[in-house]
């Protein structure tokens, strides 16, 4: 560690910050004996940045030098920005010292491409390897695989990392070609399938001998940039749902495009990043993963984009008044989940609590149901007063868009879903 470290850290954190897939999550890595660190279920946020985002991992680039020129990226070679490169040992020490002070859950390492994909990937793998083997570090490691890296290196990376990711970035191949001519869907999907194969092979091995090494036990993730291209939410969410069908794909992240390279005319001029749209996509993604929605129920050719003013679940309910009101005292779990104002937690509590007797509306709100919303879509012990059948979807839509609601929608920010 040298006096230059501070400056490098600033440069390379700045360079990495637009990558949002920072959640460390999903599995447990026990500290086996006397090493350092553990990874526990859902990763812990150790701080919150001034933009309100969770800081869980040391999210950093190994270098922001890059031979490529992707239009949407601040580190593209044609940009005149401050450049820096960490040495492997420098970054390893930094990770260990931050971890020991409980600043972080682990490391999220990405890199610009120097010389060629394999040269770059090899250095990233060395960081992970040193952490695990020299420092006996059991904390979380997420490596962002370099598009075009060889199978051997991706396989090695999987042995040290908890999670690997390859970012798709642009939701359609033709637009990727336009904005990042040096990349192709193939260069992204190839490492994705290396990761998948590595994980499946390791699972197979471990069925035979329990001591066989694990491969990226927290699976893989990817990221899509939203609003840099004309791709619709329909396109984006269908892509996500296809990706989720792949055995190891754990998360798709959406990143509202921040116009970092305003001079490039291939990109739209946005006054502000499309944060509301990004939030709606996360909500829709949530519906896919936890609310048993099918993607066609959320977006379609007829409704190619999510409603920005109301959340996708409410939007679905207003498009389908015929299925409401739902009787919470006898409806199936899946139906209860469809009620606006009822989340996964409260749906489960309803199922549990109704065995003790029929639920009243005051009990429902104690359980955590947002009655202001839900009341139009349910019946409980009391007689239904005024549901979507009487109120009609259009009127409800206006009601939910009252100034107070609008304000709270804005405030909801990116973390609170429903």
């Amino acid at each position: 560690m040298t006096d230059k470290t501070l400056e490098k850290l600033q440069t390379l954190a700045e360079a990495a910050k637009y990558d949002v897939s920072c959640a460390s999550s999903g599995h447990t890595r026990k500290n086996n004996g006397a090493g350092l660190g553990s990874a526990q279920g859902w990763g812990i946020c150790h701080s919150f940045a001034e933009d309100g985002r969770c800081i869980s991992l040391l999210k950093i680039m190994l270098t922001n030098h890059c031979i490529y020129d992707c239009a949407y990226c601040i580190n593209r070679r044609s940009n005149d920005v401050r450049r820096a490169t960490f040495s492997v040992s420098e970054l390893v020490d930094l990770t260990i010292e931050f971890y020991r002070r409980n600043y972080i859950e682990g490391l999220f390492l990405s890199s610009g491409v120097v010389r060629n994909p394999d040269y770059t990937m090899e250095r990233m793998v060395r960081v992970a390897k040193d952490l695990r083997e020299v420092h006996r570090y059991n904390g979380y490691i997420h490596l962002k695989s370099i598009p075009g890296a060889s199978r051997e290196l991706v396989t090695q990376a999987g042995l040290y990392a908890d999670r690997l990711s390859v970012n798709l970035e642009i939701p359609s191949e033709e637009n990727l070609k336009l904005l990042a001519p040096e990349k192709s869907y193939r260069s992204v999907f190839q490492p994705m399938s290396y990761i998948q194969q590595g994980a499946l092979e390791s699972a197979e091995e471990r069925r035979k001998h329990r001591a066989a090494p694990r491969f990226a036990p927290a699976g893989q993730s990817t990221q899509l940039i939203v609003g840099a291209t004309p791709d619709t939410d329909n396109r984006i969410l269908h892509l996500s749902s296809e990706l989720y069908n792949r055995p190891t794909m754990k998360r798709v992240y959406y990143s509202g495009y921040i116009p970092v390279n305003t001079y490039d005319s291939r990109l739209p001029a946005l006054a502000t990043p499309p944060l509301v749209r990004e939030n709606r996509l996360y909500q829709a993604d949530w519906l896919l993963r936890f609310y048993a929605f099918k993607v066609d129920e959320i977006v379609s050719d007829k409704h190619p984009n999510l409603d920005l003013e109301i959340d996708p679940k409410l939007s679905y309910a207003l498009r389908h008044p015929e299925i409401f009101p739902i009787d919470v005292n006898c409806a199936d779990y899946e139906m209860i989940l469809r009620v606006p104002g009822i989340g996964v937690k409260s749906a489960k509590l309803i199922i549990a609590a109704r065995r003790y007797g029929r639920l009243t509306s005051s009990q429902l709100s104690k359980i955590g149901v947002v009655m202001k919303r839900a009341r139009y879509f349910i019946t409980c012990r009391e007689l239904p007063v005024f549901t979507i059948q009487e109120a009609k979807p259009d009127m409800l839509r206006k009601l939910f868009l009252s100034p107070a609601t609008q304000r709270s929608l804005k405030m909801a920010g990116q973390l609170s879903l429903f």
């Binding site: 470290t5 501070l6 850290l9 600033q10 954190a13 700045e14 990495a16 910050k17 637009y18 026990k30 500290n31 004996g33 006397a34 090493g35 350092l36 660190g37 553990s38 526990q40 812990i44 946020c45 150790h46 701080s47 919150f48 940045a49 001034e50 933009d51 309100g52 985002r53 969770c54 800081i55 040391l58 999210k59 930094l94 010292e97 931050f98 020991r100 002070r101 409980n102 600043y103 006996r136 921040i258 502000t272 990043p273 944060l275 509590l349 549990a352 609590a353 065995r355 003790y356 007797g357 639920l359 009243t360 009990q363 104690k366 359980i367 405030m411 920010g413 973390l415």
Partner: protein, 253 residues
């Protein structure tokens, strides 16, 4: 009216339950050791008896799930006013009914218990999040904390597992006791003299390891660099990172 006093340990509270059942005299009020009496009547002081406490606990485990048992302990750790009575009423409901009351959220006590549980669990989670170790000149990683509830017992395992190859102390400066890990096991410690700057939560320069300041500065500048200015959201920031933690966080100094 029955008033009980116990020694402010969980075993003591369980012994109290045993006592109340065997006397068939259920408390109207339960006092902690340190509480000043506001009542003139007789106060029954319970002497903690681990065997009796264990019997109550075993009985409870036959009636309610392990997670509900743990919940009662966690709720008791809140040290909230009259929380003992709440725990007591819950236990009575558990012993009285055929079915465990734990999911009966129509019941006010059950609901209150689960609410307090969530608050205490959240505070424990915040310790896992916001504890910041400072390395001392003797190579011990030291973290002062000031939690709303008595959550140290809930985070022992987490810190012991995670920081297994370093010496560390997590110290509750409000309740004046802490945890010390000596590379083999974690024990409770009480400092008779705690010499550090309470107002800033910082070690004095002379106590800190030579490179401590440097890593705090590195972390601080990382924290600054990682925020996206175009997305600044001070309200959300304050909501997620409550002010009461700031003095312990190098990034907020």
């Amino acid at each position: 009216m029955y008033i009980y006093r116990y020694d402010s340990t969980f075993q003591g509270l369980l012994t109290l339950v045993f006592d109340a059942y065997s006397r068939k005299a259920f408390p109207d009020h339960i006092m902690r050791e340190s509480d000043v009496s506001l009542f003139d009547g007789d106060i029954r002081t319970v002497v903690t008896d681990n065997v009796r406490a264990q019997r109550v606990w075993n009985g409870l485990r036959k009636k309610i799930s392990p997670s509900a048992c743990r919940m009662l302990y966690v709720v008791w750790l809140s040290e909230l006013h009259d929380v003992e009575m709440l725990v007591f009423r819950y236990i009575r409901k558990a012993f009285a009914g055929e079915r465990s009351p734990e999911l009966n959220f129509g019941d006010a006590d059950v609901l209150e218990t689960s609410k307090i549980y969530r608050k205490v669990a959240r505070e424990a989670e915040r310790m896992r999040m916001f504890v910041r170790f400072q390395k001392t000149a003797d190579g011990i990683f030291f973290a002062p904390i000031e939690p709303l509830y008595n959550v140290l017992p809930l985070v022992v395992d987490f810190f012991t597992d995670r920081f297994a190859d370093q010496l560390w102390v997590v110290y509750d400066i409000k309740r004046n006791y802490g945890l010390y890990y000596d590379l083999h096991k974690t024990t409770e410690i009480v400092f008779t003299q705690l010499d550090f700057d309470f107002s800033t939560g910082r070690l004095h320069d002379a106590q800190a390891a030579e490179d401590e300041k440097r890593f705090q500065n590195l972390w601080k500048s990382y924290f600054k660099s990682i925020a996206i200015k175009e997305r600044a959201n001070p309200r959300l920031h304050r909501q997620l990172l409550p002010k009461r933690f700031w003095r312990f966080l190098p990034e907020k100094q």
